[in-house]
C-alpha cells in the first residue's frame, strides 16, 4: 500500500495496513532546511523552495504526506496586507492590515496570478509530478475567519461580533468565496486533501459565537467542496466545548491539539469527523526525547486517533530525530 493509498483509505473508510502519519500543518525544521537548501523566509513564497522543503517530510522523515504551505499568510499577502515574512526560525506576521470594510473588498481578478498564490499552486504541481501517486499532498487554505483577522484586525473583528454583528456576517460572507476558490485551485493542481485553517479558538470566542458566525459559513464551504476532496479543519486550543458544532460543519477530519483528550473528542465527533493529531509540539517534539515521542504516539493511538500528526505547525528547531520517531512508533503499532 502506498502512503497516498493509506491516507486516502482512512478518509474513505477502507482498510489500511498501518496508521498513517501526516502533516496538516508545517513540518519544516531547520535541519530539513539545511538538508534541502530551502530556507525560511524564502521558502514561504518561492515555489521551488516550497516544494523542496515540503518534500523533506517524505524523503527525510518518512511521512505519508507532504504539505508546501508553511505559514498562514499567503492569501493575506495577495489581498493587500503588509507581511513580515519572518526569519529562519520565526514565522511570518501581519504588519499592517488594510482594515477591510465590507464595501471595500473585491476579490482581485488576478488573485491566482499573484506571487504567493501562484507559487503555492506551482509547488503543488511540482510535488504531484515528483511523487506521482506515492505520497498524499496536503494543500491549505486560510478560512474566512482567520482571513478576516488578517485583513480587518483580530481585535476589531472580535469587538464587532459584539457591536456590529451584521458587519462580521458581511465580511465572512465576502471572504468565504476566496477560501473556496483557493481550495478548488489546489485540488485541481494536484492536492489530495486540504487543511482549512480557521482559528475559532476558545481564547478568543465562545462556542456560541462560532455557532452564530462561523458554523453556517463552514457548512456552506463544505457543501461547495464536497466533490473536490476531503478537508481537515484546523483550529488551535481546547475545543471540547465546540467539537459538537465542528462535527456539524461537514469537515471530514479535525486536527486536534494535545490539550484535548483524544477519546473524548472521538466520542463527541461520533463518526462524523476523523481525528488527526495530537503529538505535543513544545514539550514532546521540541524538548522531549525519542522515548517521550514513542509514549505520546502510543497514547494517541490508544485514544483512537486515526491519523497521527504533530498538533500544529512545528517550531523550526524541532529535531528531525523526534519526527522520525513518530513514524517509527506508528509503524510499530498493531496493523489495522
Amino acid at each position: 500500500m502506498t502512503s497516498r493509498e493509506r491516507v486516502l483509505a482512512v478518509f474513505n473508510g477502507k482498510p489500511y495496513d498501518k496508521i498513517p502519519v501526516i502533516n496538516p500543518t508545517s513540518l519544516a525544521t531547520v535541519e530539513s532546511m539545511r538538508h534541502t537548501k530551502a530556507f525560511f523566509p524564502h521558502a514561504h513564497t518561492d515555489s521551488h523552495a516550497m516544494a523542496a522543503l515540503a518534500g523533506a517530510g517524505r524523503d527525510l522523515l518518512g511521512f505519508d504526506s507532504v504539505m508546501p504551505y508553511f505559514s498562514i499568510h499567503l492569501e493575506a499577502a495577495a489581498l493587500g496586507c503588509e507581511v513580515d515574512w519572518g526569519k529562519l526560525d520565526r514565522m511570518p506576521q501581519i504588519l499592517k492590515a488594510p482594515l477591510l470594510e465590507p464595501d471595500d473588498f473585491v476579490m482581485p481578478v488576478n488573485f491566482f496570478d499573484r506571487k504567493p498564490i501562484k507559487a503555492l499552486l506551482q509547488a503543488i504541481k511540482a510535488l504531484r509530478k515528483k511523487y506521482g501517486s506515492e505520497v498524499a499532498i496536503i494543500g491549505k487554505v486560510v478560512g474566512p475567519w482567520t482571513l478576516a483577522f488578517h485583513l480587518h484586525g483580530t481585535a476589531n473583528l472580535i469587538l464587532e461580533t459584539n457591536m456590529e454583528p451584521y458587519k462580521v456576517h458581511q465580511i465572512l460572507g465576502m471572504l468565504m468565496q476566496t477560501s473556496i476558490e483557493f481550495a478548488h485551485a489546489q485540488f485541481e493542481a494536484g492536492a489530495d486533501i486540504i487543511t482549512w485553517a480557521d482559528h475559532a479558538t476558545a481564547d478568543l470566542i465562545s462556542a456560541k459565537m462560532y455557532e452564530e458566525f462561523l458554523l453556517p459559513v463552514h457548512q456552506q464551504c463544505n457543501r461547495a467542496l464536497q466533490k473536490a476532496g476531503p478537508v481537515i479543519f484546523h483550529t488551535c486550543g481546547l475545543v471540547t466545548d465546540r467539537l459538537e458544532l465542528f462535527s456539524q460543519a461537514g469537515f471530514e477530519a479535525f486536527h486536534l491539539e494535545s490539550r484535548n483528550d483524544v477519546k473524548a473528542a472521538i466520542c463527541i465527533a461520533d463518526g462524523r469527523m476523523l481525528m488527526t493529531g495530537n503529538i505535543n509540539n513544545p514539550r514532546i517534539l521540541l524538548n522531549g526525547t525519542a522515548a517521550d515521542v514513542y509514549k505520546a504516539v502510543n497514547r494517541a493511538v490508544e485514544g483512537g486517533i486515526q491519523l497521527l500528526s504533530p498538533e500544529c505547525a512545528l517550531p523550526c528547531w524541532v529535531p528531525n530525530r523526534n519526527l522520525l520517531e513518530i513514524v517509527h512508533a506508528a509503524r510499530t503499532q498493531q496493523n489495522k
Partner: protein
C-alpha cells in the same frame, strides 16, 4: 510522587521500631527503587525485587508476598490507588510477624496520604480554581496605586491555566438580591430557599455560557451574593468602544439570568485596565456603581456611570473640594436649629436641572413660578452662588445636592 515517596516516607520510617527489620524500600512496578530508608545497610537484591513483582497477584490488592531466597525473608505488599498498583513496599525482615504489622501500617498510611494529595489537586482544578483566583485577586485590605502586587503563586497559577496576563480587563459585578415574600411583616419560608441554593450553583454556569465570554474570562462567586466576571478584551486602540461593548455584555447577562426569577439582579462594571493587579480597583468601581445605582435609580438591572454621570462625579470628588467648597455651601444653608435647608437646596437643584428655566422648574416641582423665583433668590443670597451667571456655580449647586444624597449611604463606600 517524589515528595511523597521521599519526604513523607522518611518521616514514616523514622517512627518505626527498626529492631525487627533490616531495610525498607519502595520500588516501582518495573523494579526501580523509588525510596529507601536512609539507615539501611544495603539494597534488597534486584533478583528478589523482580521475583516479588512477578509474584504479585493483581486480583488480591492487599496481599503480602514472601520471598525466602535471600539471607533475610523479604515481605512485600502493593500500594494501590484507584485500584491500580502504583508501587510496592519491601521489607527485609528480622522479626517476620512484627514486619507484617509494620508493612501494613506503612502501606495504609501512604495510600491515605496519596489519596488526600490527589483530592486536593483535583478540587483545585475544578470550579474552586476560579473562585480561588477571584478571592486572591480581590483579597487586599487596602490598595495603594503602584504598591499592590500579585503573589508569585497566583501569577504562576494564572500562567499555568493559560491566562494571558497582558489583556485588558474589567470586572463585571452581579449582585443577587433575593426576592422576599413578606406577609404580616414577617418573612415566610415559602420553600424558595432550596431553589435559591440550586440557582446559585447554576448561576455561574449560566454566565459562563454567555456568548460574549471566552476562555480568558474568569467567572466565580466572590461571596454568597456577588458573582464576579473578570472580562478580557483585545486592545482595539479605543477604550471607549470597549465600554459600549461592556454595556451589551451586561444586557446579555441580565437577559440570561432573568430566566431565573428568584433574584433581583444588579449588574455594573468597573474600569478597563491593562494588568491583573488592577482587577481589585475595577471591582471596587463596579461595587460603587451598584451602590450609587441603588440610591439614584428606581429600578434594578444595569447600573452604569452614564445613567448617573453627576452622581458618579459627586461620589469621586476630591476631598478638598468636598470640604472646602461643598461643605461651605451646606454651612450657609443651615437653619436656626442647625439642620440644613434641604428644601431650598432641592429647588436650586431643580432650577439647575431645568437649565435655569423658571417655568419648567415650577412645573417639575408643582410650585407657582413666583414661589420658585423667591426661593432661588433666597438661595442666591444665602450662598452667594448664581447659576444663571456662572456655570461653575451651577456645577457646585448640583454637586452639593448629589453629595447630600450620597452622604445618606456613605458607609457603603468601599476603599
Amino acid at each position: 510522587m517524589e515528595q511523597i515517596f521521599g519526604t513523607y516516607f522518611q518521616r514514616l520510617v523514622g517512627k518505626v521500631d527498626r529492631s525487627s527489620l533490616r531495610s525498607i524500600q519502595i520500588v516501582s512496578r518495573d523494579g526501580k527503587i523509588l525510596a529507601k530508608d536512609t539507615a539501611n545497610s544495603g539494597d534488597i537484591p534486584s533478583d528478589i525485587i523482580y521475583k516479588v513483582i512477578q509474584d504479585l497477584n493483581c486480583t488480591d490488592l492487599h496481599q503480602l508476598i514472601y520471598n525466602h531466597s535471600g539471607e533475610y525473608t523479604v515481605v512485600a505488599t502493593p500500594i494501590v490507588i484507584d485500584l491500580q498498583v502504583i508501587a510496592m513496599i519491601l521489607i527485609e525482615a528480622i522479626n517476620l510477624k512484627h514486619c507484617e504489622q509494620i508493612i501494613t501500617i506503612i502501606r495504609t498510611s501512604l495510600e491515605s496520604y496519596i489519596e488526600y494529595h490527589n483530592t486536593q489537586e483535583e478540587a483545585f482544578t475544578e470550579v474552586s480554581r476560579e473562585e480561588a483566583i477571584v478571592k486572591e485577586l480581590l483579597a487586599v485590605s487596602s490598595y495603594d496605586l503602584g504598591k499592590q502586587s500579585l503573589s508569585y503563586k497566583l501569577l504562576k497559577s494564572l500562567k499555568a491555566f493559560g491566562f494571558d496576563l497582558f489583556l485588558l480587563r474589567s470586572v463585571i459585578l452581579v449582585k443577587l438580591e433575593k426576592k422576599t415574600n413578606s406577609y404580616f411583616n414577617i418573612n415566610l419560608d415559602l420553600g424558595y430557599e432550596s431553589s435559591v441554593e440550586a440557582f446559585k450553583d447554576r448561576g455561574v454556569q449560566i454566565i459562563k455560557a454567555n456568548k460574549y465570554l471566552n476562555n480568558q474570562d474568569i467567572v466565580a462567586f466572590a461571596d454568597s451574593d456577588h458573582i464576579v466576571i473578570v472580562k478580557s478584551f483585545l486592545d482595539v486602540g479605543n477604550i471607549g468602544k470597549l465600554y459600549y461593548a461592556l454595556d451589551n455584555i451586561c444586557e446579555s447577562m441580565i437577559s440570561d439570568l432573568e430566566a431565573a426569577k428568584i433574584f433581583t439582579y444588579h449588574i455594573a462594571y468597573g474600569g478597563i485596565y491593562s494588568t491583573f493587579q488592577d482587577v481589585r480597583r475595577s471591582y471596587v468601581e463596579a461595587e460603587n456603581t451598584i451602590h450609587l445605582g441603588s440610591v439614584f435609580q428606581e429600578n434594578p438591572g444595569i447600573h452604569s456611570v452614564d445613567k448617573g454621570i453627576f452622581e458618579h462625579v459627586g461620589y469621586y470628588l476630591p476631598s478638598i473640594v468636598q470640604h472646602k467648597v461643598i461643605q461651605s455651601v451646606l454651612d450657609k444653608l443651615k437653619k436656626a436649629d442647625g439642620s440644613i435647608d434641604l428644601e431650598l437646596l432641592s429647588v436650586a437643584e431643580a432650577f439647575v436641572d431645568q437649565c435655569m428655566n423658571l417655568m419648567h422648574t415650577a412645573n417639575q416641582l408643582h410650585l407657582h413660578r413666583n414661589t420658585v423665583y423667591l426661593k432661588i433668590d433666597k438661595f442666591k443670597n444665602k450662598t452667594g452662588l448664581n447659576p444663571e451667571k456662572s456655570f461653575q456655580d451651577a456645577f457646585i449647586i448640583k454637586m452639593t445636592a448629589v453629595s447630600v444624597k450620597i452622604g445618606a449611604f456613605s458607609q457603603g463606600k468601599v476603599n
